[in-house]
Symmetry: C2
Subunit: 384 residues, 2 copies
């Protein structure tokens, strides 16, 4: 670990580990995050149709906001004037924001990446906008993010190693500029660097080493879960984790399925974010202890049983499959809301289970029991 | 009042009146309804994106379900097998269902009204369906409605007096058939007749007299709020109310604005339903003590103040106008949910205020103060 890394105060406290899996506490200006942590995604300052109260009650300590969306509407300057993202939304708790770079790549038209910045047109009104590393930090400071992310360039896989390396090297230069731009941030606020390098282990290692040299409050692994097989993703995690400073939080961006979370925690990841629980919830898929359940399926239409009568989350154990099926088929907004909540709650239960198991030194047992429950699958349809 | 009317047990208890305005308690198989009551509309078994818990906490004692939607999907037979609408939805409390007739007229294609029934094609799959008075009652019994409505024919205004009278007479013959079909319903369940007669006072009187002769648990006034001026609606209420049995609840269907509610309670109406709070909420309009507020308006974009800091409903007094404006402009589902809840809560506060004022003999004072608040209007935009 370099000396510059130790320049930055460490807000992460490791509480225990079981093999590579570890549990800890990350203290942010807006509260404590228990790790391993899953961050639901509140894209444009809202968690779709879900009350913040319910996000909290489902067990989330921290949520993610999308800088790209927020900088376009309502704008970072407006949110700053209204007291920052936590107060603006009413969530009140810790928030991590991405840098905006990933969504510039995926959502906006006509974009150009130079050494200086990425330039793009707003998907809302076509306005031309330049997002430099410095501006990405400025925007996230205006949003008052507890944890800001460096601007990076993420290439889609599969890609040529030369393209992967070029983007990784550019991301490192942007990492340094972000680190400098963040120096004026008040105490307690954090900046994470992002490891790039596609599916090339040597590039991942080089990226992680260089980031550790620059020094960040925490380290993210980016550019995964972009279409590659799970085995490739896990291989990249295994290549990267040993190179990252062990006392800092490790955040796997944009991941993933419940199985991805279990496998990644096993390999030393502390934080995750993903739209899966809300996006798939809106499409009628529920995640429970019994694995994913597609509520659009007609077998649920007459089924009075809940999704999982043993769930600690009231909607999961109280609403009938028949009602949830009806809401989704009828396009009733309550269906999307309930299933998104059910999924967020299950993801949080999974994280809580992992945290407890790691603290008690029985992660392997938890891992095997959880996989066995998923493998057994959903309860069979009722006999007519 | 005819002797046949008194054949039906009366579940309505008058607790007090102030002029024509009155307050009471209607006891249903699933709970007590405090009147005057406003019923939010849960079209297809859901109150849009709102949790039933929040509908209850906002102050609603009873909600309305739309028979037309529910009979098509998930079907009345399925809901019956799942324990009735109250259990199916998880709402648990009293539910009134309309007969389906009004929405057959407004939503379905290719419909034909005969003496026997209305025949129509489902807007979902085009299936040909016959809704007779007997079937309308059967469907509502399958749904387990606490309060079922007779099938009627509602003409759009303006209409020729001959057409209005023909529909009113047909509705009376259907009322008798519904009354017979309802005879097997268990104790405690209720059937309401519906006064028709368009904007012709003499037809309203004739309809009300004939319905009172048949005898129902309660009486609705239908076919209003269909485009006529408020003065015409109030004139029809004034013509009808004195003819209806004074010990039975009076329900004004599909009404209305807060001002409509105030004016109608003043004239002796006990129950209302309307989609206004949820529909206009989805379109960005909030109803508060200060009158309607259009949150799409740019003047709210930077306003940190809540809609009404004196509101007893937490979202009304806590979320900033700027956040609500942002959610509506960004098309975030939470915006529609929050504004729908805010509106349902205000409508319930208005009803609670009227109930209390009537019980205390100061309805006129409440009426005047409420109108003065609306007339003063929303708080001015902040000085830049």
């Amino acid at each position: 670990m370099s000396s510059s890394a130790s320049d930055l105060p460490n807000h992460f406290e490791l509480l225990g580990n079981d093999g590579a899996a570890r549990t800890g506490r990350l203290t942010t200006p807006h509260g404590v995050v228990r790790t391993p942590a899953f961050m639901p995604v509140g894209t444009a300052g809202a968690m779709k149709g879900i009350h913040w109260r319910d996000v909290r009650e489902a067990g989330a300590d921290i949520v993610l906001g999308n800088t790209y969306h927020l900088m376009l509407r309502p704008t970072a300057e407006r949110i700053a004037a209204l007291g920052g993202l936590q107060r603006f939304t009413g969530w009140g708790g810790p928030m991590l924001t991405d840098s905006g770079g990933f969504q510039v790549m995926s959502l906006s038209g006509l974009r150009k990446v130079t050494e200086q910045a990425v330039t793009f047109r707003s998907h809302i009104d076509g306005a031309k906008i330049e997002l430099s590393p410095e501006r990405a930090i400025e925007v996230q400071r205006l949003l008052n993010s507890d944890i800001a992310m460096q601007l990076d360039e993420c290439v889609r896989l599969p890609a040529e190693p030369d393209d992967i390396e070029r983007a990784m090297r550019l991301s490192l230069r942007w990492a340094e500029r972000c680190r400098r731009a963040f120096e004026s941030a008040p105490a307690g606020y954090m900046l994470f660097g992002i490891v790039q390098g596609g599916d090339v282990p040597a590039l991942r290692v080089a990226s992680a080493e260089a980031l550790a040299e620059i020094g960040f409050h925490g380290y993210a692994i980016g550019g995964l879960a972009v279409g590659e097989p799970q085995a490739v993703m896990l291989e990249m995690i295994e290549a990267t984790v040993p190179v990252l400073p062990g006392d800092r939080p490790r955040y796997l961006m944009g991941v993933g399925t419940p199985d991805d979370l279990l496998e990644s925690v096993k390999r030393g990841i502390d934080m995750f974010d993903c739209v899966l629980p809300t996006r798939n919830g809106r499409h009628g898929v529920a995640y429970t202890r019994l694995g994913p359940v597609n509520l659009r399926n007609a077998r649920h239409a007459d089924d009075p049983r809940p999704l999982d009568e043993e769930s600690p989350w009231p909607p999961t154990r109280s609403y009938s499959r028949a009602y949830l099926h009806h809401l989704i088929k009828a396009g009733e907004a309550l269906g999307a809301t309930l299933l998104s909540e059910i999924n967020i709650a299950y993801f949080q239960q999974l994280m809580a289970g992992m945290r407890e198991a790691i603290a008690q030194g029985r992660f392997t047992e938890f891992y095997e029991r959880t996989k066995a429950d998923w493998a057994r699958g959903d309860i069979p349809a009722r006999a007519g």
